[in-house]
């Protein structure tokens, strides 16, 4: 039993490692091979003299072979392996737009801000989604249930950025909440508490937007999952055993019903990233999403490449964590 679990985890870790490697390679070629080659693009500037272009090409190693060096000498003397080498040292290059800023620094700051936004939203939406989904399933067919279903349907149809704008509109024009950024610019705080309150006020609307969007989906899945589980034979057994309804739900239904939710959270990480990109754009929240969008608008390719890599690897790693949690929740998985 134990060894089955260990083998399962090992297999998943290997798959994640391979995926990360493929992501890294994919990321490299995405930016080299497609028509808009950023390195070449930058050198197309007509103001540059041919000598200057040649010098720059030499400096950025653009004359080296792209993938492997087949022109004699060291096989590894190529742009691809130079990229891998730099990456291994955490070197993601230098931003075009923010002068002399290493991409890794920009990403680090942005990542922390994104986690501040995404983590509370995820926790709130999972807890509320599981709770409401459970209740809707238990009270199947009642008004509560119909309301929950309609809410999920609307949330699914509502683009995240639009919900964000609507909340922003209400918050800014009628409630008086801050509309952009992480803190009030130029504000001086008397106490740390005041500073925290200011950050919380800025976080309120973006978190609410993201949480509402995720909530709809979690609730829908939880509801159908609970209805499925509650019609299983072992629930009839538990009822025949004279267990109380609350015990049947907490000890027999919940764990089994959570399994699809766990899978959904894993599959949804990409969806969460997409939500974060939109919410950060609407609320000018200085996270990874906003960094990505501004990198696109400024054609800041090193930052774009780095941000994409970081987002993709985060999703792969988070996926791995979720799969391991799953194997712990459902002992059958690791033995297959």
């Amino acid at each position: 039993m134990r060894t089955g679990r260990r083998r399962f985890v090992t297999r998943k870790v290997v798959f994640a490692a391979v995926t990360v490697f493929v992501v890294v390679t994919f990321n490299f070629f995405l930016f080299r091979v497609l028509p808009g080659d950023p390195a070449v693009g930058g050198l197309r500037d007509p103001r540059l003299s041919p000598e200057r272009v040649a010098a720059l090409q030499e400096r950025f190693g653009l004359n080296d072979p792209v993938f492997v060096n087949l022109e004699g000498g060291n096989l590894l003397e190529s742009q691809y392996f130079a990229y891998l080498g730099a990456l291994a040292h955490g070197d993601l290059g230098t931003s075009y737009a923010f002068r002399d800023q290493p991409v890794s620094n920009l990403l680090g700051t942005a990542l922390v801000n994104t986690v501040w936004l995404v983590l509370p939203a995820q926790v709130i939406s999972i807890v509320a989604g599981v709770g409401l989904g459970l209740f809707a399933a238990y009270r199947r067919g009642t008004k509560v249930d119909v309301g929950a279903l309609s809410f999920s349907l609307i949330m699914w149809s509502l683009p995240t950025f639009f919900l964000g704008i609507v909340l922003l509109f209400i918050g800014a024009n009628w409630v008086g909440l801050p509309t952009a950024g992480r803190v009030t610019i130029g504000a001086l705080y008397d106490t740390t508490w005041d500073q925290l309150v200011d950050i919380a006020r800025h976080l309120l609307l973006p978190t609410a937007t993201l949480a509402l969007v995720l909530l709809g989906e979690y609730m829908l899945i939880m509801r159908s999952s609970v209805v499925d589980v509650l019609s299983e034979d072992y629930i009839l057994t538990a009822k025949a055993e004279g267990l109380s309804t609350s015990r049947i739900i907490s000890r027999h239904a919940l764990r089994n019903a959570l399994l699809p939710i766990v899978t959904l959270i894993a599959l949804n990480l990409g969806f969460t990233v997409s939500g974060a990109i939109q919410v950060e754009t609407v609320f000018s929240w200085p996270g990874l999403g906003q960094l990505t969008v501004s990198a696109v608008n400024q054609r800041d390719f090193p930052v774009l490449q780095g941000a994409f890599l970081l987002l993709a690897i985060s999703v792969v790693l988070a996926n791995l964590v979720v799969e391991i949690i799953y194997s712990w929740l459902d002992p059958r998985v690791s033995e297959a």
Binding site: P35, V166, V227, Y234, R247, I248, S274, V293, V316
Partner: protein
């Protein structure tokens, strides 16, 4: 299940689906006749002054003007074109790519399939909006590129779905047969696989359309749409970045947003309807509130030495055309220490009778009449809390097919400990655990298996664990519902022997529900033969089996092999038990009965007292028996 794929028949009766279709229809018409509907041409160049910007709705501009002083309504109408084109063109690309990948991966499950699935897995973990942004940023923001990028990113879900469906179709008998007869790959795909996969794929495409529409509007909102085209996302982008929020110009923001919601909602409703039609989902469950029988009890006195007394039990299920009677006027008694067998073909109401007696009916079922006395206590009208305390403590059940009757994610031991502690609040965890081990040993499972999960035990072992669970609270009555079904013959014999031994050892009363007359013959004292939800015959096993009075009992016995007379030819009963929605007016068995006469088809026969017990058959109403009528 039939081999033919379920189509989308019945869509017209799906209300939400039809609403979605109507909503989508309106959007499509608007997109087509946009130039006729729009009061202004949003693509025309106009000279503007500051005063024209963000004008609130008025007679000349029904939805006001935007940041470029253009009519919002006209832009809204033209915007439908981009959304719908991107949505449908993108979805078609996704469907073609994903469908092809999925078909190949499922049909050629070897290395090619593996490689394709790895590629799909890879794209599944890449955050798609991020990749979409990168792609469009690199290849340029034209409508064609956006459609291609959205189409090429939306295929993973379709590929997974088509693959799993193809895999399951491939294993079906008729496909294997066609293959064995030498059908070529292309023929197989065209004639057998694709028709099976297509409906599901269509339902999925609808989902892909809604994703594509949302992706397009998101891209446009982020400033990555085709700058030459007016789309709803673009309108939101311009309104948002050019100060509609601070200007309080809700009319520049709300209409395009609602337009997106309108189209996505319409498509989602259609998709939900299609999915409902393809695989109708379960909608009921075991914890729904139950209805307690409404009629007043007959007030009959409990009988000495009778542990379970079922009187005139009638059970109905909700049907589409009103209630369906599944069990009607069933009465039988279980004496202390006796074993009663309930026997009959599948669908005759055996299990419904025992589950009904304990108020454990499937959702939608309820007792409409009758009484169930356990040691004089009326289970049928008891308060739910009181009933719960009594369950398992006094009457336990061994369910059929123990795989699903035990919770798959909890250990056997924890499930036994849980029920012991539920009914005995004083017992410590350790004592309960020790008792769980004892119980497992009692049924022939090594006690260390308390830590095993159900899937780690063989079928026979699981059934033993189920029996141990049933014994946990030392009940007075055990109901075994098809305890040996789905086990191999050797294991069947062992489980049966175990049940017999335990019954003798503990002196517990038992009800055994089975379609196996051998089980009744070996293990039971009394037998109740059921047909069409009613009692056909009942009495002591020895007498009923020697002198069956009801033609149905006789035919059942003829259809069953005996060791005493192995040379006797076996005769099967032609036909099948009646459906609940289509019960014959007279005796339920009359349509299949070789001895039926006119009266049998018109009236329900009462129970007549016979030499070997009681039986419900007009043949017994002959002059010789006159006066014995009714019980």
């Amino acid at each position: 299940m039939s081999d033919r794929p379920r189509g989308f028949r019945g869509f017209r009766r799906h209300r939400l689906g039809m609403i979605g279709l109507a909503m989508l229809g309106i959007a499509v018409v608007v997109a087509f006749v946009a130039p006729l509907l729009a009061p202004y041409d949003p693509y025309a160049n106009v000279t503007i002054t500051i005063a024209d910007i963000f004008q609130p709705p008025s007679g000349s501009h029904l939805l006001g003007t935007d940041d470029g002083a253009k009519d919002v309504l006209s832009a809204l109408i033209y915007g439908a074109r981009v959304s719908l084109i991107v949505g449908f063109a993108g979805a078609i690309i996704s469907m073609l790519v994903g469908g092809t990948m999925g078909l190949i991966a499922g049909y050629r499950a070897g290395w090619l399939g593996q490689v394709l699935m790895r590629i799909t897995d890879f794209f599944l973990v890449i955050p798609d909006l991020a990749l979409l942004i990168v792609l469009v940023a690199i290849v340029g923001q034209s409508l064609r590129n956006i459609i291609l990028a959205i189409g090429l990113l939306g295929w993973t879900g379709t590929a997974r779905l088509v693959r799993s469906q193809t895999l399951s179709v491939r294993e079906r008998k008729f496909v294997l047969r066609a293959k064995a007869m030498g059908a070529g790959d292309w023929y197989m795909l065209r004639r057998h696989v694709i028709p099976q996969v297509l409906p599901l794929m269509l339902a999925n495409t609808v989902l892909v359309v809604s994703l594509a529409i949302i992706s397009e509007s998101t891209l446009a909102f982020l400033g990555l749409g085709d700058p030459r085209l007016i789309s709803w996302g673009q309108m939101l982008n311009l309104g948002f970045t050019r100060g509609a929020v601070s200007a309080g110009a809700w009319w520049a923001i709300i209409p395009p947003g609602l337009a997106i919601v309108w189209v996505v909602l319409s498509v989602t409703l259609i998709g939900t309807a299609l999915e409902d039609l393809l695989n109708p989902k379960l909608t009921r469950h075991h914890l729904e509130p139950e209805e307690i029988v409404a009629t007043s009890p007959s007030g009959a006195q409990p009988v000495e030495d009778v542990l379970l007394d079922v009187r005139d039990l009638t059970v109905a299920f909700e049907g589409e055309q009103g209630p369906l009677i599944a069990v009607e006027n069933v009465s039988f008694e279980v004496g202390r220490g006796r074993v009663v067998g309930i026997v009959g073909e599948s669908g005759c109401g055996k299990t419904t009778t025992v589950l009904g007696a304990l108020r454990l009916l499937a959702p939608g079922g309820k007792i409409v009449d009758g009484q169930v006395l356990l040691d004089g206590l009326d289970l049928s009208r008891m308060e739910p809390d009181e009933l719960r305390r009594l369950r398992w403590d006094r009457v336990a059940i061994v369910f059929q097919g123990a795989m699903n009757a035990l919770n798959p994610v909890r250990t056997i031991g924890s499930q036994i400990v849980e029920v012991i502690r539920t009914h005995d609040g004083d017992i410590t965890k350790d004592t309960a655990r020790a008792r769980a081990g004892d119980l497992l040993e009692m049924v022939g499972i090594p006690r260390r298996r308390v830590r095993a999960h159900p899937h780690e035990l063989s079928g026979g072992m699981r059934q033993r664990a189920m029996i141990a669970l049933a014994l946990a609270c030392e009940p007075d009555l055990i109901i075994a519902d098809e305890p040996t079904t789905a086990l191999d013959v050797m294991t069947q014999a062992q489980i049966l022997e175990l049940l017999e031994d335990l019954q003798e050892q503990l002196g517990v009363s038992m009800v055994v529900v089975t379609h196996d007359l051998g089980v009744v013959n070996d293990a039971c004292d009394d037998v109740v033969v059921m047909y069409g939800g009613r009692v056909a015959e009942k009495g002591p096993v020895a007498r009923v089996f020697r002198e069956p009075q009801h033609p149905y009992t006789r035919l059942l016995l003829d259809a069953f092999p005996t060791i005493e007379d192995p040379g006797r030819p076996l005769v099967s009963i032609p036909g099948a038990p009646p459906r609940l929605s289509d019960l014959p007016p007279g005796c339920r068995f009359a349509p299949r009965c070789p001895s039926a006469f006119e009266r049998c088809h018109e009236e329900l026969p009462p129970l007549y007292v016979t030499r070997s017990g009681e039986a419900s058959c007009f043949l017994l109403a002959e002059p010789a028996f006159a006066g014995d009528e009714g019980v």
